[in-house]
Symmetry: C2
Subunit: 371 residues, 2 copies
């Protein structure tokens, strides 16, 4: 089988949608948050722990896996799923974003993009056809087309030119894509320019992809501008296809994305915050390095049911951070992922009951921002 | 209740012993290997994973916990067990070894030892009474007396003088020790000098401790010398008390220690090897950084039943190491701890059947040494 998306319902007052996404590696409802397993592992967390948290789909990065261990090793292992011991769904990005954000000395042409590895400086070339081949070797359930993600700010002429090339690349990806059971998503670009976003969305919609990424947002632009772009784009995408807001995962952005009709999100935020000693809680973030937690024997969040909150105190977690103990990365990642997964659970339940607005309001009532 | 030790049997041809150790936090048979949770965590491994591996007792380090987070915070948490979410048994060392191996600028006198913290250079003083107080705050099941661990080599006069002071400190610890339910072990010192070792063992035996550490070995002396010292010491210790060979954990040393009547061991080796990318296997060690494992899709050990070997290949583990991914510390630690725990399981079974010699012989037949 290949991926199948069913729109189960739409919220009454917002554009929030409840959907069912079926992939060769399992079915789950949307909106959904995808933890990031950049290098074929969600940092510090085991597949069993992800399952226990309620994770159904991960994102993994084509750019990183291409460089290390290399697609041939993953192919020989039987694909990413057996390689990393994850039998749930996997979405791989195309590597485009990483080439434009991590790799030095890149040069873009019609054919593709040449770049140097950020690891050893070696030269590489990604074309639309090449990234299809790599994602085929990875064996993900959902693959993404090669796109260029322009920086913010970028001038209109550049974003237009880049966007047109990205559309031509999308068509080439579609032609080159051949792996049975793997769905290929197009990616809407267009920077912060309404007409370019709309043109990109309309053109991709005509190309009839089974799903659509919305890229090039959360790259430095003000949040209201990101939300505005979503409002232009989502109505132009087919209602019966999932929409995936790429690289977005701050709690308030998930809420605002859902309200504007987004179905899928991914972000390194929960695991990155964990490595910096921060915990996501309904009222903001706890920075456990703060002295105030040294004798605080309460869990991170007294209402949280995650493994970490069931068994460990803020004082213990702070001790592990100060002592630079590896276990704390796991414990905080589990908590942060659990928080985002529960936030999405609640969102889906609210949409099902047609009152996502009230859910959004309660979210902001609790939210006090960062420490 | 306090600790209780029952000698269940002795091997026919060697001095290997099978025992039952009962503590306020559970009962288990000896010989036993104790993983090290220096800073109130076994590096990268959760308490549930330790249980699954079959671990019943951990060691934690008084010196480290005294400096960070400090004994008062652990006391307020209700002791080490709830602080670190471990309901099995815990043995704490006295901090003596760490003061003499980690702390700079120490000065030893009859009263105790002054030292500077290896973390921030602050001044501290450990007396026998002080380390009893700290271990009381930690609430371990088994505490150790303050001892001086002389370096190797050290001359006879120094080791004799140091050993006498350590015996006086042992007596002071015994007087100061007051925590109900916590057993206090004496520590045999004496370097590599037979008469000093025998004098230490005899004197401590007369002092009637519920158990005995054997310290100051595996500090650089040749292995045959360590084994020889064990042969002098163990016959002088009461047969109905457990003997604990401190800081020893290389597989061959466990085998040789057991053969000489040792009941308990601890070592950072399995978790330290893991962090260096090495796996313990019956034929030696695998260094997973080696290129030869890049496309090796077999588990670390095809006969191993640990979580890691059930689900991950050498190629994947090598990838995680090369990519510096946190998960690999956990996966290799689980495997290495599992290996040592199973090695001890097999040893106990062999002793029970009175054929530990054959078990030792099989161990060496498999063993090919390091890569």
């Amino acid at each position: 089988m290949s991926m199948k998306f069913t729109l189960l319902g739409v919220d009454r007052k917002t554009r929030a949608r409840l959907g069912l996404l079926e992939t060769p590696h399992g079915s789950f409802e949307t909106p959904v948050f995808m933890p990031v397993g950049t290098q074929a592992t969600v940092k510090a967390v085991s597949p069993e722990e992800l399952k226990e948290i309620g994770v159904h789909i991960l994102l993994s990065n084509t750019y990183h896996l291409y460089l290390r261990p290399g697609p041939e090793i993953v192919r020989e292992a039987g694909g990413l799923h057996p390689f990393m011991h994850w039998d749930g769904s996997i979405l791989t990005d195309s590597g485009g974003y990483q080439v434009f954000s991590l790799a030095p000395l890149r040069s873009i042409g019609e054919e593709g993009v040449e770049f140097r590895s950020h690891l050893d400086g070696s030269r590489h070339f990604f074309s639309p056809e090449k990234v299809m081949e790599i994602q085929e070797a990875l064996g993900s359930d959902i693959a993404m087309v090669l796109d260029e993600c322009p920086p913010y700010p970028a001038d209109y002429a550049y974003v237009r030119e880049s966007g047109e090339r990205t559309l031509r690349w999308a068509a080439r990806c579609k032609t080159a894509h051949r792996l049975d059971g793997q769905a290929l998503f197009g990616i809407v670009q267009g920077g912060i320019y309404r007409d370019l976003r709309e043109h990109s969305a309309r053109t991709l919609a005509e190309m009839d992809f089974p799903g659509y990424g919305i890229g090039g947002l959360s790259v430095g632009e003000p949040k209201p501008l990101m939300y505005e772009m979503l409002e232009y784009v989502t109505p132009l995408l087919p209602a019966d296809r999932p929409r995936y807001l790429m690289g977005v995962g701050a709690p308030e952005d998930l809420i605002e994305g859902i309200a504007r009709g987004v179905d899928m999100f991914d972000c390194v935020l929960p695991t990155r915050l964990a490595r910096h000693g921060s915990a996501l809680v309904p009222w903001g973030r706890l920075n456990l390095r703060n002295q105030q937690y040294a004798r605080d024997f309460r869990p991170l969040d007294e209402n949280c049911t995650c493994y970490t909150c069931q068994h460990y105190s803020r004082a213990y977690l702070r001790h592990l951070i100060k002592a630079e103990e590896l276990l704390v990365h796991r414990l905080l990642s589990i908590h942060n992922l659990h928080y985002l997964v529960r936030l999405m659970d609640g969102a889906r339940e609210a949409i099902r009951q047609g009152n996502f607005s009230a859910y959004r309001q309660r979210f902001y009532e609790n939210w006090k921002g960062e420490e």
